[in-house]
Each structure stands twice: as structure tokens, then as C-alpha cells.
Symmetry: C2
Subunit: 233 residues, 2 copies
């Protein structure tokens, strides 16, 4: 019963997590307050606080001032996806990365795009379409609109060698972003470029980034059939 000694916040963290997982502290139940735990564990309240905060961040505990700390009733799994530069993603799998620009134009985007990016409907924007290949096999198709007002250097960049994906990361500051994952059927176009059957199910990532109030870029990545994004809980 008497704890041998919980010196550091990690061991407090582990012990509390053990009690949650073994249902010693049941879902929805209140746990002792920081001061009490500090006494039990023989450490400072600060240390307990550190451990409990970490568990709250991870989604195990629900903490509220004055109300106290309780075990989360319905553990909400928080999956953290790392969305890396595509070149790195491919190289880390030990495959050869190559890049191929398909088109690059300055044109008026479809209404859906200008609306999402909150620019006037007639504004001409930079449109870049490119293929990312792994071992010379199409891996992902990138279709991107760039707001040239916000990213000045972009107009002079051909995106022939360096992908817009990487170029923007290095040159375009941003403050916020949204990201959405979905599935869609390959159109004739996409099927041709990704060398797959028309109608094949493609994994899609849509990203929209902002610099303050101004939209920087909107991109859709379509991955070749079979693509998976994985992570641990």
C-alpha cells in the first residue's frame, strides 16, 4: 500500500496511469486532489501537478479548477498524424524520390477555391500540378493554388525541380492552417497521372494555410490507391 517512493513526475505519471488502466480508478470517477497525492507519493505538489497535467494532455484525465480531477469517462483516442514533406516520407521508406511538374499556370481558380481562400472571384492565382514518385511509380498527385499576393517570390519560381510542397515550407510564413482527410474516386485525369483505374478509391488530403487573414495556399494531395496513413494511439 505504502508507495516505496515516487521521486520523479514520470513515476507518478506511470503509477496514476496504472491505476486508471486497471480500473482501480474507474472511468468518470474523481481522484484524490494534488495535495493528497503529493503526500501519498512523498513528493511536492508541483511534481504531482506535472504528472497529472501530462495525463490530461494525453486525454486520460479531465481536470477543472475547484471541481478537481476525474478519470475521463469516454477515453477519446487522440491520433497524432505527422504530415511530413512528401520527399522525406518516401525517402524514409528507402525508396527513390522523384518529382515531375505537370502544369504551372496563372489563372482564375474555380469559384469553390476562391471562396475557400477568401479572395475576389476574378483574382488570378498560381496553379501548380505535380507528381511525386517513389521508385519511379506515381505516389501522390499535388494540385495547388498559390496566392501570389501573399507569396511574392512564387511568381518567379518555375517549380520545375523543387516541389511547391517544399518550396513553400521554406519561403512562406503562415499562422494557421486547416487540414481535411477524405476519400474520392479517381477521375479520368487523375487515373491517367497516377496510373490507376478510373474510379479507384484515392486517399485525399486537403490543406489550406493562412497568414493572418490572407490565404497562402490551398492544396489537394491525391495518393495512389492503397495508400495508408498510420499512427499509434
Amino acid at each position: 500500500m505504502n508507495s516505496p517512493a515516487f521521486r520523479d513526475w514520470q513515476s507518478v505519471h506511470d503509477e496514476v496511469l496504472r491505476r486508471i488502466r486497471t480500473r482501480m480508478w474507474q472511468p468518470g470517477q474523481m481522484i484524490p486532489n494534488e495535495a493528497e497525492l503529493a503526500v501519498e507519493f512523498g513528493c511536492a505538489r508541483t511534481t504531482v501537478n506535472r504528472a497529472l497535467r501530462s495525463l490530461a494532455d494525453a486525454g486520460w484525465l479531465d481536470r477543472r479548477r475547484k471541481a478537481g480531477t476525474r478519470v475521463v469517462a469516454q477515453p477519446i483516442a487522440k491520433a497524432t498524424l505527422s504530415i511530413a514533406v512528401i520527399r522525406h516520407e518516401i525517402e524514409e521508406r528507402g525508396q527513390k524520390y522523384s518529382y515531375q511538374r505537370v502544369t504551372r499556370t496563372l489563372s482564375v481558380p474555380p469559384l469553390g477555391v476562391s471562396a475557400a481562400m477568401r479572395v475576389p472571384a476574378e483574382t488570378r492565382m498560381l496553379y501548380v500540378r505535380a507528381l511525386h514518385l517513389a521508385d519511379d511509380t506515381p505516389y501522390a498527385l499535388e494540385s495547388r493554388w498559390i496566392n501570389p499576393q501573399v507569396v511574392p517570390g512564387a511568381q518567379d519560381e518555375p517549380f520545375q525541380k523543387v516541389s511547391a510542397n517544399e518550396w513553400l515550407l521554406r519561403h512562406a510564413p503562415y499562422t494557421d492552417g486547416e487540414i481535411a482527410f477524405s476519400a474520392m474516386n479517381a477521375g479520368a485525369d487523375e487515373a491517367h497521372l497516377l496510373v490507376c483505374a478510373e474510379g479507384a478509391a484515392l486517399f485525399a488530403i486537403d490543406r489550406l494555410t493562412w497568414d493572418g487573414d490572407a490565404s497562402v495556399t490551398k492544396v489537394r494531395l491525391l495518393f495512389a490507391p492503397g495508400h495508408q496513413m498510420r499512427t499509434v494511439l
Copy 2:
């Protein structure tokens, strides 16, 4: 130049993040050490530490003892997805949730499943298939294998009213989990249950959870066409 005053760790956090995003501190570049920043911001080193640790957790900074702190070279966007109980997901959108069990059998799973769950090939497992509906429209199709050895009560549960999704969260402890997102074409089966065209692109979530060395459950969720998962960066 001289900071007006950064009293709390949040404001230090925000200021540092601003410097990263505006490229004042460029990707890959070292930033001043904690002690220096503490002087500049007029606060204790502890406070700077708190702020930088938080930014490192979020993937903006790379910190190493003695080596110091640097801005991550290729900002890896970390999208944190909250995977809630499906009922909550639907109810939060203000829609009516309903549930319909399709099948429930005790049978030998396909080889791929028993291999992934690391159980002997002949082991019989509980298989539950069910529909989650939003406003009486099919929302997601859940196909789940449950290891009855690890989840004793499951054998006696019909999963007629309560979804396995929720029942397991309350009754089956777990220590680890994997999750994968992908896209797949609807088969005849799935098209029928989700009331969509055969071949439609479906968003798929595969989850596999472990309690120590033993697999608890393996589930595939297929969402009706058009489903999106979104988050902010």
C-alpha cells in the same frame, strides 16, 4: 526591440511561435538558450522552459541537452485527430443517432486478421458487424473482431442496443493501439449497407488495440461517401 514584458509562459510561447512562423528564426536555425531568453523576456528560466517544452511537444522545436534548441528544419505538421465514440460524433453535429446490429457470430477469422491479432489461426473469435446512422441515414459501417479470451464479458453481450464501439471502451482496458486511415472502393456488400453505389470511394479507419501482449479487438470503420475528417494545424 525590448519586449514590453512577457509575464506568463503562454505569451512567451506565442512570441517564440511568432518568430518561427515569420521566419525571424529560420528552419534549422539555433535559437538563444533558455537563460538568454529568460533575460530578454524578463522572466524566470522555468517559464521559458515551460514555453519551449510546449513548442517542442507541438513539433516546432527540436531540443537536445547541451546541444541546445533549434527550429525544426522541415516543419512536420502534426495533425491531432480526436477519434471519439461515433455516437458522440453524430450527436455533436446535432443529428439523431441510431444504431443497428447487422451480424454477430463466433467464428474463425480470415488469416489476415488472426495474423494481425497474433492469435493461432484456428481461434474462434467474436465478429460483430453494425451500422451507425445519423438522422436515419447510414453514417458508418463497423466490422469488428473481438478476442474473447481477453474480453470475457463480450461473449454474453448481444451488441443489439449498445454498439461494440462503446461497450468495449467501458469494459476492455487497453494499453496500446494502432490506427490507420485509407481509402477503398465499396464492395457489393458495403454498398448495400451504406446505401451507396458499388465502387464508391469510402474513407476507412482501421484500429487494432492491445492489452499488453494480447490483442483486444480489430475494427474497420467504413464511412459513407463524402465523409471528411478535419482538424486545424
